[in-house]
């Protein structure tokens, strides 16, 4: 009976590339959904909502690094720290509206406001990343500084992520201009009333 080559990743670890790309695709999906909601329901994101979007993007950067360079502890660290940062801003907004009778900010989706969903999503992402760290056979892979060609799922996730990020830059610029956003925005600063 022959032993497998030492550089072969076995078990669940061989799925880690796919799971990283799926995670990035999920984050892109969250950002796309929020952006479509913003455009079609004309509900402008508040500053804390924008901070939560930034945190999702920051988590996505960690996963994009994994997709583009192969998984490494530093990339997972980036994603986990970013998820924790997102939990801070979303929990803060949940606390802002926790008093009885407070209608909350924006329309609810499936019974919860977006900032509550964001808190759930950041927690779920942290758990997901922890699980990925446990199964990932990253020690057996090639050096991280060498870029590699991502698979079709990785390319799809990366392009979707880059595109929604560009749209977020533009929409935030149109909404807030070169300044801070008002606490309760009702109109885009750079669009005629």
């Amino acid at each position: 009976m022959s032993n497998p080559p030492s550089n072969t990743v076995r078990g669940l670890g061989r799925w880690s590339d796919c799971l990283n790309a799926l995670g990035l695709l999920g984050i892109s999906g969250i950002l796309w959904f929020a952006f479509v909601w913003q455009i079609f329901l004309h509900e402008l994101p508040c500053p804390l909502c924008l901070l939560q979007r930034v945190a999702f993007v920051m988590v996505g950067l960690g996963l994009l690094l994994n997709v583009c360079f192969g998984s490494r502890p530093a990339h997972y660290g980036i994603a986990v720290v970013s998820a924790l940062a997102g939990m801070v801003s979303s929990a803060r907004q949940v606390l802002l509206h926790i008093a009885p009778g407070d209608p909350g900010y924006g329309s609810p989706f499936l019974g919860m406001h977006f900032y509550t969903w964001a808190l759930v999503a950041f927690f779920a992402l942290a758990v997901y990343l922890g699980g990925l760290l446990m199964i990932d056979g990253m020690k057996l892979r090639e050096a991280a500084d060498t870029p590699r060609k991502a698979g079709w799922l990785g390319r799809l996730a990366g392009i979707s992520f880059l595109l929604v990020l560009v749209l977020n830059v533009l929409s935030t610029l149109v909404e807030c201009g070169f300044g801070a956003c008002p606490d309760n925005p009702t109109d885009y600063l750079w669009l005629p009333g």
């Binding site: 901070l51 979007r53 920051m58 994009l64 360079f69 801003s89 830059v169 300044g179 801070a180």
Partner: protein, 77 residues
Amino acid sequence: MVIDHWDFSRHHPKFESDVPIGLLLMVMMLPFLTALVSAWYCWRGSRRAAMGWWVVTTLIYVAWCFYHMTDPLKISL
């Protein structure tokens, strides 16, 4: 230009004297822009630059957290 959106003293007496770096950080689209730069470097194969721009994004994020999260919560119990 909407000047009152740049007023640091709205919640924070400690920010009464505006400083240029603070003004720069208060541009809401800035963390999106730095994150886009990071993602672009990552996509183009520059790992160190991508991670460096992620750090810049995180620093701006923390500055925004201080700005938006250090006023008293209006919770009536």
